[in-house]
Symmetry: C2
Subunit: 514 residues, 2 copies
């Protein structure tokens, strides 16, 4: 058995049965091993950013890691942006990255690069295999590290000779410790604090944003008046009719500071710090909660967030959660395309257990709040703020969730970063409806330019303008085997959207934003 075969055996033994792949020459033995050792579903991406973003989406829904198969050096580099998003989402992932053979690396062949250095910034665990005999053991350690709460990215670098040499030994799964319970003193302290009734907020992250913990958070809120917030962008929020809603900290710095004005206590539930602005602005604060607010830790990221919330609710003798919102009975919106209209149509038409992928950037900011009474669904966003994850994230979520419709709210500028992901959606016949929000500009940057006080001239406007020529996403999608159509009115959108729900496979709706 060679090292590559021991790798596949070990991954399968550890429960990893899906591999998003964009292989290169240095990974051929791994590819050959995937042939010889059955059981791994391999999903090809035409660019590494598709691969890593899809693995992120897969893990968020499957609640276990996918493997990725990436080419050495620049191949990994192409996947870094979405690995960054995955890191910020505490996503579980096991990257298998090829590299030059151990004896070839000193020769500095053209593709030789700092694979390990590039991996470090996005990986909680990095190791370069030294020998074929170690591959199985290293792979088991990589999987273990990925599983340890709150989830992490492991990158296993495999010089090609460690894959082709004999001596491979499959390894058994390593134990994954359960999430530790939150400190009872922290729970008691939070309860004491909340009973004082001063303006307080809970900042909920990762697993605290699932339906059960959110219900407990609402018990706490109802009993104490505490406000509940999620960060601006999150791994996965369970929401919709029958579930308890949660606000997100607004992206815009002024809206965020206004929303959180007067808060005296910030209680962290899986967060490491109070909310901060995505960016700094001259003369504006970095932390968006008031500077005199005190910060308390209910539970650290790796602790049992759901248990901590339940324990806190119980410590407060909080009654059962108030009723969750029922499903809104609304008709789809007609007339011109606006964010409110899109939110209303989604509320009316979204099927049960849909998965919404939010890369709507500027246009879609109000859609989250306005869809709280749609059918129950999951909401996934790019947690690290690196655009170009919407289409890949949708791809991976769909692979993990057969039978559920994935709906991608996709800004047009961002769509172009990883547009190649549409091809994978076609090849795998994934049930993804991609709504391209086509305003034909980098609208967020126009807003930011105004924020910096600039009166944009021709040069600046040119750099934020996606027209000249217009992007035609229907043609681009067709070129990758995905059917699509353009909607100029809400009526057209409603018809197209309903059609996508009645058929299998991917579809692109280019929604013209006036």
């Amino acid at each position: 058995m060679n090292g590559a075969e021991s790798l596949v055996h070990t991954l399968l033994a550890c429960g990893i049965d899906t591999c998003f792949a964009n292989p290169g020459t240095s990974e051929m033995h791994f590819v050959a091993a995937l042939d010889r050792v059955p059981g791994m579903r391999c999903v090809l991406g035409l660019f590494e950013g598709v691969v890593t973003g899809a693995a992120d989406g897969y893990a968020r829904m499957a609640e276990k890691p996918a493997a990725t198969l990436l080419h050495c050096g620049p191949g990994l580099a192409n996947g870094l942006a979405n690995l960054h998003n995955g890191r910020r989402a505490s996503t579980m992932m096991v990257n298998c990255v090829g590299d030059q053979a151990t004896h070839h690396r000193p020769l500095d062949a053209p593709l030789t690069a700092d694979t390990e250095g590039w991996a470090r910034g996005v990986s909680g665990w990095v190791r370069s295999c030294a020998r074929a005999e170690d591959v199985g053991r290293d792979a088991a350690a990589a999987v273990q590290a990925a599983f340890i709460a709150p989830g992490g990215i492991s990158t296993l670098i495999l010089p090609s000779d460690t894959c082709w040499n004999p001596g491979g030994m499959p390894a058994a799964p390593l134990p994954v410790p359960a999430r530790p319970q939150a400190d009872p003193h922290a729970i008691a302290e939070a309860a004491r604090l909340l009973r004082r009734g001063e303006p307080s907020m809970l900042l909920l992250t990762t697993d605290a944003l699932r339906a059960g913990p959110l219900a407990d958070a609402h018990r706490i809120a109802a009993a104490t008046g505490a406000r509940l917030y999620a960060p601006t962008s999150n791994r996965r929020i369970e929401r919709g009719a029958g579930r308890h809603p949660i606000d997100r900290v607004p992206y815009a710095i002024d809206l965020a500071t206004q929303a959180l004005a007067g808060i005296r206590h910030v209680i962290l539930v899986g967060a490491l710090s109070p909310p901060v602005g995505f960016f700094a602005y001259p003369g504006k604060p970095g932390v968006v909660t008031p500077s005199d607010a005190t910060v308390h830790v209910l539970a650290r990221p790796e602790q049992d967030l759901a248990g901590a919330l339940a324990a806190l609710a119980d410590a407060l003798d909080a009654p059962a959660a108030p009723p969750a919102p029922h499903r809104a009975q609304v008709e789809p919106a007609g007339g011109p395309v606006t964010a409110d209209a899109l939110a209303r149509s989604l509320t009316a038409l979204l099927p049960e257990q849909a998965i919404i992928i939010d890369e709507s950037v500027s246009f879609g900011r109000s859609i989250f709040g306005a869809t709280a009474q749609a059918a129950p669904h999951d909401w996934l966003a790019l947690a690290g703020g690196a655009i170009g994850e919407g289409i890949p994230l949708a791809t991976g979520a769909a692979v993990a969730s057969p039978g559920r419709r994935v709906v991608t709210l996709q800004a047009d500028g961002s769509a172009m970063y990883t547009i190649q992901g549409l091809w994978t959606q076609a090849r795998e016949n994934l049930d993804v409806t991609t709504i391209i929000l086509a305003n034909r500009k980098y609208a967020i940057l126009l807003g930011e330019l105004a924020n910096v006080g600039a009166n944009p001239g021709r040069t600046a406007l040119d750099m934020m303008d996606l027209s000249r020529p217009d992007l035609d996403f229907v043609k681009i999608a067709a070129g990758m085997g995905v059917a699509g159509a353009r909607a100029e009115t809400m009526e057209q959108f409603n018809d197209l959207f309903a059609q996508t729900l009645s058929r299998r496979g991917p579809f692109v709706i280019e929604l013209a934003i006036p």
Copy 2:
């Protein structure tokens, strides 16, 4: 004057007047400064890999650096693969990368990443600005470093407060030292060696591959019997009718070792080592020249390569160079599409002073040799072996070379990595003819899989198959505003190719490889 304005003033003063850009929020002050300080041509890319690949192509033709404008962290990461190619080509480039404000970075906002760490692997010079007052001085140092022979990549990281704060001071250009002359002893030693008449080769790189030095190399070859080689992939080779040809070290490891068998002396002209295989293979050598060959340095990368070759030719009392090949008088090929047929049609139809961009990967390997008697042209390849540079490289070369036709030999799988570059070609109305070599598979990997002795099964074949669904590059190009058509025969190709030469702007020919 703020820091950003001092940056633009300094770049312009240093002769940098072209900026390939994909800005984000943290770069808005730079964008605003580009408005206020006239003189910089800004070219928008819809993905950072397009930006960095275009800057690489620009510098190879313009013989001076372009600036790039990249977003912090993941934005830079998206550009790394083509920066890797640029580094391997010793390309001059000045990256201006935004970053979190100095006071915001400790807050670890979602987009915060190891910008500097990621930059190091591809940059000969990296600096993070500390204060607005330093931006001008740092920018001048970045440009100086980029210009120093043989050319390098500088990355200047600009925390947003260093851009928006007042106190910016434009800096004057710093002196760029001339290339040092090669050591006269090295020239005398090489002459002594070559006079012995043992089988020898000169390995020529970067500036040694221009027409003048190649003529001197041919003087040496004619006088001594030495063989002349370039590495497999190169920054820029001046070639075609009236110029002296040069072979490249073959990509395939067996072909390379066969070609170089018997060589006793390897004389390096700008290379740091004898030629090595792109990858290692079990039981095959890493260095492709014979293990008992001795290695000699005629000139180091930073030295005057052209001067060294001329001096060596003179030291050998070599007569004038033999005549260079005349232009072949051939008709375009008819019938089925093959690499030989494509080479023949290019030889017949290529206009004077065309620029060929070679990302032909497996299909096109024979085209280089078979086009030596086409009209004089430049040949640019991805020097670092990271696929996904063809379309960007063509874009930048065309920006640098108005009036010259750029012809991209573009493998289909590789095209999908940075397909967004077509949009920039449309926006700038660049004279680029992109020939998509559509074999609908990762053909190189099928060859590599055979090399590792594997008999591919369904899983492996699926990962190398680009059909299901077929990619339609004519539709994809149309979606980005680029006209195109598909050719199934050489007659169709010839007609389309000739048409592209008679009109301005970009065109895509999807050439069906049977």
